[in-house]
Amino acid sequence: MNSLILETQNLTKSFTGFTAVNNVSLSFKPQSITAIIGPNGAGKTTFVNLCTGMFKPDSGRIIFNGEDITNFSPEKRVQLGISRTFQIVNIFPKLTVMQNVKIPLLSKGRIEELENILGIFQLGEKKDVPASELSHGDQKILEMAMAMATKPKILFLDEPMAGVNPAERSRIVNLIKDLRYEEKLTIIIVEHDMDVVFRIAQRITVMNRGSVIADGTPDEIRNNATVKEIYLRGVEV
């Protein structure tokens, strides 16, 4: 039995002119919360995109539960249990909240879970409202609900706090924490809000210019001089 849920081996992806993800090998244990941080252009989102199937890597492998999924389509990965949210809210704006959640539920035939999920994410009262009419924070929460509706084993959250009011942030933090315990979920989160990162992450991976430069517990990272250096000046390491 493999004790790792997800593993990347020497993942590399280049776009014209630069290498966004450079030889990244990371592994994730079940039911852990890992935060990936780093300055702009560090390759965090590209890494998430590679793991979830948005892009194909130039080289390297992605192993999920012991299976090589490097060339799987996004929908197939979702079927296996890899789900995600996006930096910019990615929902169905003209459909109602209920319909938004229904679509991912259908892919696993779990339609009876609808009310349950709406309940967990406190969207029950707004279920007949078009998603575009929700507050931005609620839209972020709805997107998480949609990601959860496919009953993932691993959930990628790409900047869940981006554009969210400070007032709504704690709601989202609490939701993420709850999810982890109640759904036995592995969570990988990319986030700039360091309060949030240090409140929820068990492990923090720091990326810079496509490479992993530090990996450890929040305390280790907090006291890591190189990391601080990078955040303050972004120079070569």
């Binding site: 941080i37 300055p39 702009n40 252009g41 809210v89 575009s132 929700l134 507050s135 931005h136 839209q139 900047e159 981006a162 554009g163 969210v164 009011n165 400070p166 700039h192 809000d193 360091m194 990162v197 240090f198 210019r209 990272i221 907090r222 990391v227 601080k228 955040y231 303050l232 000046r233 972004g234 120079v235 070569e236």
Partner: protein
């Protein structure tokens, strides 16, 4: 000193998401002001708000204490004398270096009004390496060269205020040093500069004053030397 740009209680929104919360700041004539903050805290949105590139804005943005920018379209703001160098470089990759620069020269503010006049030669003095590559396609330049060209383009507009987004991002230390010198030269020519950045050592070398921004709000402001180093690092790291 008169003020070049004043933001009072500015809020910015993209669709449903509220990004800036009551931002107020001021840039005086001849100053280099830096907006400090981590990624994703609203630096770029502040600059885009000044240029009019954000769909919904409330509050007041005054240019030279007299012109309310809120109802003025971006291209007219440029012609009023605000140069903008966005974080992706602000160059047109399908044009040659020379065409990139020519574009700005043609749109440049009428010269009689400008405090300092930047002509092509002045720019080549500042960026000698550009002179050798005027016929190259801008898209083939290296990251540092693009950044230089972007700033050169901004200067050729002969602005009273030059706005530069993340000038040090992703550049090698020696190039960052070049940029420090360039910004200091720009200051000495009398042009005001607003920079958004997070690289503290770099900022220390250029800033007259800083505003520290976090989660869409201005948290600290003043001369860098007068701010608590600890607080600063907290906002910039974690």
């Amino acid at each position: 000193m008169t003020s070049i740009l004043t933001l009072s209680d500015v809020n910015s929104y993209y669709e449903k998401s509220h990004i800036l919360f009551g931002v107020s700041l001021e840039i005086k004539e001849g100053e280099v002001v830096v907006l400090l903050g981590r990624n994703g805290v609203g630096k770029t949105t502040t600059l885009k708000t000044i240029m009019g590139l954000v769909p919904k804005i409330t509050g007041k943005i005054l240019f030279k204490d007299s012109t309310d920018l809120l109802k003025i379209p971006p291209h007219k703001r440029a012609k009023l004398g605000i140069g903008y160098v966005p974080d992706h470089g602000g160059i047109f990759p399908n044009l040659t270096v020379y065409q990139n620069m020519k574009l700005s020269i043609k749109q440049s503010k009428s010269k009689s009004e400008s405090t300092q006049i930047f002509e092509l030669e002045d720019v080549f003095d500042l960026f000698p390496q550009l002179e050798h590559m005027i016929n190259r396609l801008a898209g083939t330049l290296s990251g540092g060269e693009r950044r230089m060209l972007g700033i050169a383009r901004g200067l050729l507009l002969n602005p009273d205020l030059l706005i530069i987004d993340e000038p040090s991002e992703g550049l090698a230390p020696n190039i960052v040093q070049d940029i420090v010198e360039i910004i200091n030269k720009i200051r000495s020519s009398g042009v005001s500069v607003l920079v958004a950045d997070q690289n503290l050592p770099f900022v220390e070398k250029i800033a007259d004053r800083v505003y520290v921004i976090d989660k869409g709000e201005i948290k600290l402001s003043g001369k860098l030397s007068e701010l608590s180093r600890e607080e600063l690092e907290m906002f910039l790291t974690f």
